[in-house]
């Protein structure tokens, strides 16, 4: 076991994959100079760990600022023998390449009757909550969940980031990786050597009996804190991180709700048509009779993101908002607790 940061784990996974398979290349803006911190052991060229030194400019490629062509080129290269990792830096830039994601990456294998294989990973980071304003704060993964043919990972810890990214690079299908900048520095014990974590298997971060709390990406740590706080108040919270959104481990969530009878979902995306809406709808369809309270969604307000520190934070999920939601769905529970005290 080694303690790694979330961003360090991503860099390590890329380094392992590059070393293991010469068909793996990294293309993106400013990847040579390691501007975003995942293409070098450190940021100094001289130092051991620098990807350009290790793998050369044939496999570590600085691109022009041309997201649509970058994504298209990676798809075309994947269809013809490479296994590219594309670093798109900010998730907010993905819109530039939307046609390539939807009409080429997601559709080609299907449209062409299985003739094409498209082993490519598109990495981007969600930079919300950092006063970067409306153009750099998006969390757009739900719009890609509605595009069949794409796989989507959204890791919330170092080991998940490392293990899922290796699985993504091994996959013969296009994978979108949505990473949380708020978690870049978060540390976790990561098993030594190479390992993979399968897609479609949720991680139960915490077992509990009274309410199921599904948390996505950057919302997982605050969900854990909220769970601890409620524990102290006599409410046992089960925290589940789906880790991948496509495929989505609905069975694990439904199983948990069958046990707890209550569900709160917290995610960084806008509330409207988000992953929480999908999860809520699935649970109502499949676990209705087990439900003992309304399902609560804690998500980002349906607003654009303002720049001012005086304005931004209030739009996002917080531990307090999660606690409030749990209090609502566990009202009877809490009353009975109060009575027993």
């Amino acid at each position: 076991m080694t303690v790694m940061t979330y961003i360090g784990a991503i860099g390590a996974a890329q380094q392992e994959a590059m070393a293991a398979d010469s068909r793996v290349v990294i293309i993106g803006e400013d990847v040579e100079a390691n501007v975003y911190g995942t293409t070098g052991g450190s940021k100094t060229r001289a130092e051991q760990g620098d990807f350009v030194q290790q793998f050369g400019r044939n496999r570590i490629r600085n691109t022009p600022i041309s997201e649509e062509a970058i994504v298209g080129a990676a798809i075309g290269a994947a269809m013809t023998g490479l296994r590219p990792i594309v670093d798109l830096s900010y998730s907010s830039f993905m819109y530039m390449a939307m046609d390539q994601f939807v009409n080429q990456a997601a559709k080609n294998r299907y449209m062409f009757g299985g003739q094409s294989s498209i082993p490519v990973v598109f990495r981007s980071a969600m930079f919300y909550g950092l006063n970067t304003g409306a153009h750099h704060s998006d969390r757009p993964y739900p719009m890609f969940m509605g595009v069949p043919g794409l796989k989507i990972m959204a890791p919330a810890s170092a080991s998940d980031a490392k293990g899922l990214l290796r699985t993504a690079i091994d996959s013969d299908d296009p994978v979108l990786s949505f990473e949380a900048v708020l978690l870049w520095g978060s540390k976790e014990e990561v098993q030594d050597g190479e390992f993979r974590i399968p897609f479609g298997v949720a991680r139960v971060r915490r077992e509990g009996a009274d309410v199921t709390l599904v948390a996505i990406s950057g919302c997982v740590p605050m969900a854990m804190k909220a769970a601890e706080e409620m524990e102290a108040r006599g409410v046992s919270v089960e925290v589940i991180d789906p880790r991948t959104l496509v495929p989505l481990d609905t069975q694990a969530i439904v199983r948990s709700v069958m046990k707890t009878g209550r569900l709160v979902i917290v995610e960084p995306a806008h509330k409207m048509c988000g992953a929480a809406a999908e999860i809520s709808a699935v649970v109502v369809e499949e676990a209705f009779h087990a439900l003992r309270a309304p399902i609560k969604r804690v998500a980002t307000a349906n607003m654009q993101i303002p720049f001012s520190p005086a304005l931004e934070a209030q739009l996002y999920p917080t531990k307090e908002k999660i606690v409030t939601a749990i209090e609502v769905v566990c009202a009877d529970q809490l009353n009975s607790v109060r009575r027993t005290v």
Binding site: E68, A77, A78, T80, Q100, D173
Partner: protein, 334 residues
């Protein structure tokens, strides 16, 4: 570069064969749309055969192409057998894409056809990416993107040209300028000349003024192909041509957006008739050879229709396959 006329006789005859295959296949497809055998619509390459075949024949086995909605000519030009193509247009299990693509989304990986795109210009960066993989893996192959004069106003073309130029990728950007994008005359929506756009992106921009002349097209593309193979990078080629039929079969536009004189000028320049005459005149073939070839291909096209019509429909569950490499069921697929 020697002219295409120095190619082996058999190659020159194969060029005529491929043009004829495109012509007769598309004429048949048109009829089958009218008869209701082919659902949706098709876009024929009738009139543009020299532009298509001249380009494809300048490639070799292993090279890759991508195309657009005017889609049948490209795989046929690369040598794709007709039966599975026609079966695809009809939507049969024996279709080259199992009936899941249809006319607009033909692909035949066996001949290097990576896929036609119903979305204008969307397949251009795919071809560029095929050039990237060749360069990174050190494989001796090139890639060509076919697109129209209308698609030439999509920004992704210039992003792709720029990246291919900066990275010296073995790519050919081939613009099929048939003077119209659907009902829109190219000159009314295009600033400058498409071929002039190569220079600013660091590559040759060649215009083939007579795209009805197969050898003229071949020579231009062969030169670009040699440049690509030698590591000098991409080229942009604009081939001036004309579609003899409406934009798509079944489409009726009640405004005369193409004037009669222009139509007359171009239709009198049938690429197949021109090349046929040249082959005979230069002694590569006799009238009888040509008649035999035409009869043979007419028979092939009859056979491909028969194959398509007699093939079974795909089984319903096929609709739920090929979305991903492993077959796992997405929640709520049904």
């Amino acid at each position: 570069m020697d002219s295409g006329w120095t190619l082996p006789e058999e190659t020159l005859l194969e060029m005529q064969r491929r043009m004829l295959r495109i012509r007769l296949f598309d004429e048949r497809a048109s009829k089958m749309v009218k008869r209701g055998y082919i659902p949706g619509t098709v876009h024929t390459s009738i009139g543009q055969e020299a532009q298509v075949v001249g380009a494809c024949m300048a490639l070799v086995a292993g090279d890759k192409i991508t195309g657009n909605h005017r889609s049948h000519g490209h795989p046929i030009g690369m040598g794709s057998p007709l039966g599975p193509l026609m079966a695809e247009l009809v939507g049969k299990a024996t279709g080259v894409c199992k009936g899941k693509g249809g006319s607009l989304h033909l692909a035949d990986y066996a001949v290097g056809s990576l896929g036609e795109s119903g979305i204008t210009a969307s397949s251009i960066p795919i071809a560029m990416g095929a050039g990237l993989s060749a360069k990174v893996l050190g494989e001796d192959r090139i890639a060509m993107a076919f697109f129209g004069d209308g698609a030439a106003n999509q920004g992704v073309l210039y992003e792709s040209m720029n990246m291919a130029s900066a990275w010296k990728l073995p790519v050919i950007f081939l613009c099929e300028n048939n003077h119209y994008a659907l009902s829109t005359p190219s000159h009314t929506v295009t600033g400058g000349r498409i071929s002039d756009r190569g220079h600013g992106f660091g590559m040759p921009g060649i215009r083939v003024e007579n795209g009805q002349d197969l050898i003229a097209v071949y020579d231009a593309v062969a030169t670009a192909a040699a440049r690509a193979r030698s590591g000098e990078g991409p080229s942009l080629i604009e081939v001036m041509t004309y579609r003899f039929r409406e934009h798509s079969e079944g489409l009726r536009i009640n405004v005369d957006y193409r004037d009669a004189a222009e139509k007359e000028y171009w239709t009198s320049r049938d690429p197949i008739a021109l090349f046929r005459a040249a082959l005979i005149e230069r002694g590569f073939a006799t009238e009888d050879d040509m008649l035999a070839m035409e009869a043979q291909i007419a028979a092939d096209v009859d056979a491909c229709e028969k194959f398509a019509m007699e093939s079974p429909d795909p089984a319903p569950e096929v609709a739920f396959q090929d979305l991903y490499s492993e077959a796992y069921t997405l929640e709520g697929v049904l």
